[in-house]
């Protein structure tokens, strides 16, 4: 992320429609945003699409940014809301319900050893992301932003627009939920009616 005057100049150029300037602005955050999207999408392709949708929204709303906060926090807040909207939207719910079990996960879920270490890591990564996606959506955000991305409580509070105490509570509950999912095997797919996004969201206190 550029500093000081350079950052201000880049934002000014991007606000005037300079796409390259915007791309420079977000370059440092791209990997994190793409990873964050994995918590809300059912495949890497969907996550890439969702991350791009969020970044396009940030770009089109860039003139709203007037240095009232750090640019990275502002960017994350927009991305966060796009991701949540996606999960809560009809499209997101339909995708979740239609999501078939990953055939690779199916095969390896039987306990067969991975062919090599790289495949084993990849399988572990998929299984963990799948488990994270089982965590209620509001709790999921705090879990990913804190435990994976290393944001502070204050940063997450700014991104989610909630008090720090709420972030701590959500993190506590998110870890509990993740532990429970992993304890049950962490398998996903075939989402049951009792765990549809809307119902999970309702159980989440502010």
């Amino acid at each position: 992320m550029p500093d000081g005057g350079q950052l201000e100049a880049l934002i000014g150029r991007a606000q005037q429609g300079d796409v390259r300037a915007f791309e420079q602005l977000i370059a440092a955050q791209l990997p994190q945003i793409r990873r964050y999207a994995l918590a809300f999408a059912r495949s890497e392709a969907d996550a890439a699409d969702l991350a791009q949708e969020a970044l396009v929204k940030a770009y089109t709303n860039l003139r709203v940014f007037r240095f009232q906060s750090a640019f990275a926090s502002w960017l994350y807040a927009i991305v966060h809301h796009v991701f949540l909207d996606h999960v809560r939207s009809r499209r997101g719910k339909e995708r979740a319900l239609e999501e078939p079990l990953d055939p690779v996960r199916h095969e390896r879920g039987s306990g067969a050893p991975a062919a090599d270490e790289q495949l084993a890591k990849e399988e572990e990564r998929r299984r963990l992301w799948a488990a994270i996606r089982q965590v209620p959506v509001d709790l999921r955000s705090a879990l990913v932003l804190f435990d994976i991305e290393g944001h502070s409580y204050d940063e997450i509070a700014a991104i989610e627009g909630v008090p720090v105490g709420t972030v701590k509570s959500r993190l506590f509950r998110g870890r509990e939920a993740l532990r429970k999912v992993l304890g049950q095997g962490g398998e996903v797919g075939g989402t049951s009616p009792a765990s549809t996004p809307s119902q999970r969201e309702r159980s989440v206190p502010g």
């Binding site: 791309e23 709303n61 003139r63 992301w129 509570s169």
Partner: protein, 195 residues
């Protein structure tokens, strides 16, 4: 809400950290560039955006910095997806508070749109009577009404709006929320006094 965060199982914490791996490029940047170029330049900031920007400037030291700013809480209960309320949209209980505000000061009206469930899109409308004006960034706005759309979370959705009264009197601010076919309207009384 005060439970201290605890660490996940020792192994899980390390496993989560191991997820911090950069995804493969796979043409992501090129596709993003194409979409950004296709969407055109950033949109101009609308009236509602200006009002929100004004609020952002206040946020760090909201009430103390504004000094005599006054708050009026309007509680609108959206019975979204709740048949009993949708049949009778005027039924929601709303607590109406009248607050005195000196004419020389900006008052902060805090609208609390409370929804039973998350709502993807709600149409919100706030209208001021003659004698009151919206206030943003230290400037009076000419518009008498604000219309915008936004998602609502389950629970409270507090939206601060700054207004200023030109002269003493009792003013009724009308706030409306529409979700699908449901429309709920509520008044907030603001009493502007000399001073």
């Amino acid at each position: 809400m005060t439970e201290p965060p605890i660490s996940p199982e020792p192994g899980v914490e390390a496993r989560l950290r191991a997820l911090r791996v950069d995804p493969p490029e796979d043409g992501f940047s090129a596709e993003l560039h194409r979409r950004l170029a296709a969407v055109g330049p950033p949109r101009p900031v609308g009236l509602w955006g200006r009002v929100r920007q004004g609020m952002e400037r206040w946020r760090p030291a909201l009430w103390p910095a504004v000094g005599v700013a006054a708050g009026v809480a309007a509680f609108l209960v959206l019975g979204a997806l709740r048949p009993a309320v949708s049949a009778s949209p005027s039924a929601p209980v709303a607590q109406e508070l009248a607050v005195k505000v000196p004419a020389s000061k900006v008052a902060l009206i805090r609208l609390n749109f409370s929804a039973d469930v998350a709502v993807e899109t709600a149409q919100l409308h706030v209208e001021l009577p003659a004698g009151l004006s919206f206030w943003s960034d230290g400037e009076e706005l000419a518009q008498r009404a604000l219309d915008w759309e936004q998602p609502l979370s389950a629970g409270d959705n507090v939206i601060p709006i700054a207004v200023r009264g030109a002269r003493a009197g009792e003013y009724r601010v009308v706030a409306t929320a529409r979700v699908g076919e449901q429309r709920i309207e509520h008044d907030v009384v603001l009493r502007v006094i000399d001073g």
